[in-house]
Amino acid sequence: MWRTILRRVLIMIPQLILVSILIFMLAQLMPGDPFYGSLNPNSDPATIARMRHAAGLDLPWYQQYVKWVGNVIHGDLGTSYVVNKGWTVTRIIGQRIWPTLSMGIIAAVLTYVLSISQALLAARNENKIIDRILIVWNTMTSAVPSFVFYFVMMVLFVYIIPIFPSSGTGIDDTQSFTTNFFSNLRYAFLPALTIAVFSTNSIFQYLRSNLLDQQAQDYVRTARAKGVQIKDVFRKHILRNAFLPIASGIGYSITGILGGAIFAETVFGYPGLGALFVQALSGRDYTVITALMLLQGVLALLGGLLSDIISAWVDPRVRVK
């Protein structure tokens, strides 16, 4: 097991280098730079050129890349040009990462709780009314565009039934960790729930059909022939087998935390990494963009690693001796 993990970690190194080159090139391909638009239209082109030179933005991309990688290895992700001018990128991300992380974790937990319980309920009552209702509901949430759904949830639970705050993270740097933790829960819950309801539908449909497939397998008949009650057969045999293909996806869900946050944070006015990414993009804040994309790349690689570990853990047939 440990050798498998070590081998997977070693493979990640060349992957990481490739990802960093791609990210850097993509950022460079964006039209404009941080100084366009941030300065007075009447500014002297010579001034802009001087500022570009000072920031090293007039060098060819590969020289910029080498410089950037050298700094990243030393933990220096650069300084923001636009979003929080003058702040180090590490400081900005350090401040924004906690709200996104807490929202992402709540969303992931809710997603699995909601989809597993719905799928079990539907599969146990195949073709009955409750099954139909769940199918219709999940088809509906997958058909409606996510942003429409976000606004509906916002209107419903912030204005019509005002039980959740409309914006903010509930985190105050002057307060203690525990105070922040609990006050943040209230702010993070609505966007997390919205993301969860939205990402439940694909897992629900997949798991439901897996459960029905597994129900027809021979080992289920064996368990019944032993005298195991049908509800225990579901709990002890069917659910675990049906969950296998989905379990390997759990790892990838940490990759989705940042991606899912982009819309939700913007709509719910929840200033985390997703909202930061949108701000940085519109301001061409290179250092912030590349840092965030690098973070996302690392998350994706870690997600893949986690998925492999989880599938080896739950499925004895995958384990390498």
Binding site: Q217, D218, T222, A223, A225, G227, Q229, D232, R240, R317
Partner: protein, 331 residues
């Protein structure tokens, strides 16, 4: 012990297909005594496994209707609730299935799968571990400790079938249903598994319902044979009578189609046609006659007595066709 272990009378099974019930088994009578091995033979689709599922109560109750009477040790099984069936499955009847790989849960250790068969009926049992190990060694597995910690995919086909047998035997049932127990195994392993089943059966004096389409297995294992075609019994006899004096044309055809009976170089006989679909089964006729190409229409369509006709003591056959057939004595 005297008397019947299993007695099935007038058992019919209907499946609901597109809202209509269609008959898969029509008025089946079969009985098994303690210590007796009864073989149930027929092509795929003749209703052998359907009958076994009725004895186990494993049909989907929404889609299936089972009528008649199935008595095990004089207790009526038809009409039991799901919970009542759970209490008797695995205790009074153990079942061995065809494909031991798919019949075992791929994610559960062998020891746990056998232990479940015990604990599900006896939650307080303290000696579960010892009993599991005893069962594993009883079915001829030497490396008991290691095997109980392994997963099904780590074992060979023969080992897996031994595990299935251990599960079926867990609570020392009076009746063992073996549904094609050797079909998925290599020829060399088949003999070992059959010997094992036979040995256990003799030791425990259990009755066995052996479902197979391999007549070699029947000759080796069974005391009596019931031949089924299209959901009905066509012939019922002791093994020696059936092999030496088969009466029904279907039994004759099956024996001719058995590859082990054919000399090398001879062409293997294949029965023309297939078992009719459920909706085409008219159980008032002798359905097999449709597959005898040289019979005239009147004979094929003739209505047949519902009761089997007695040929000799313990030898029964369906319809009148057997009286009109002149068979060459050398098969």
């Amino acid at each position: 012990m005297d008397g019947k272990l299993l007695e099935a009378k007038n058992v019919s099974v209907d499946f609901r297909i597109d809202g209509q019930y269609q008959t898969a088994i029509h008025k089946l009578n079969i009985s098994i005594k303690h210590g007796e091995v009864v073989a149930l033979v027929g092509e795929s689709g003749s209703g052998k496994s359907t009958f076994a599922m009725s004895v186990m109560g494993l049909h989907n109750s929404d889609q299936t209707r089972v009528t008649g009477s199935i008595k095990l040790n004089d207790n009526e099984l038809i009409g039991l609730s799901e919970r009542q069936f759970d209490a008797y499955r695995g205790v009074s009847v153990g079942m061995i299935f065809q494909d031991p790989l798919s019949s075992l849960n791929p994610l559960m250790k062998i020891g746990d799968q056998i232990a479940e068969a015990i604990t599900v009926h006896d939650k307080q049992s303290k000696k579960v571990k010892q009993r599991v190990q005893k069962l594993i060694s009883d079915v001829g597995i030497v490396d008991v400790q290691r095997v109980s910690q392994q997963y099904p995919h780590e074992l060979s086909g023969g080992m897996r079938q031994r595990v299935m047998i251990a599960i079926a035997l867990a609570n020392e049932p009076d009746l063992i249903i073996a549904d094609e127990p050797t079909t998925a195994l290599d020829a060399t392993i088949q003999a070992q598994i059959l010997d094992l089943i036979k040995e256990i059966q003799q030791k425990k004096n259990a009755g066995i319902l052996l479902i197979t389409h391999d007549l070699g297995v029947v000759a080796e294992m069974a005391d009596t044979v019931t031949v089924m075609y299209a959901g009905q019994i066509v012939e019922q006899a002791r093994v020696s009578d059936l092999f030496n004096h088969p009466k029904h044309p279907y039994t004759r055809s099956l024996l001719r189609a058995d590859p082990s009976e054919v000399n090398s170089g001879d062409e293997l006989y294949a029965i023309p046609g297939t078992v009719p679909a459920l909706k085409d089964m008219d159980h008032s006729k002798d359905l097999f006659l449709k597959r005898v190409p040289w019979l005239d229409k009147a004979e094929v369509e003739a209505t047949v007595d519902e009761k089997l006709q007695k040929v000799s003591d313990g030898h029964y056959v369906r319809g009148n066709a057997w009286q009109n057939f002149e068979f060459l004595e050398d098969l």
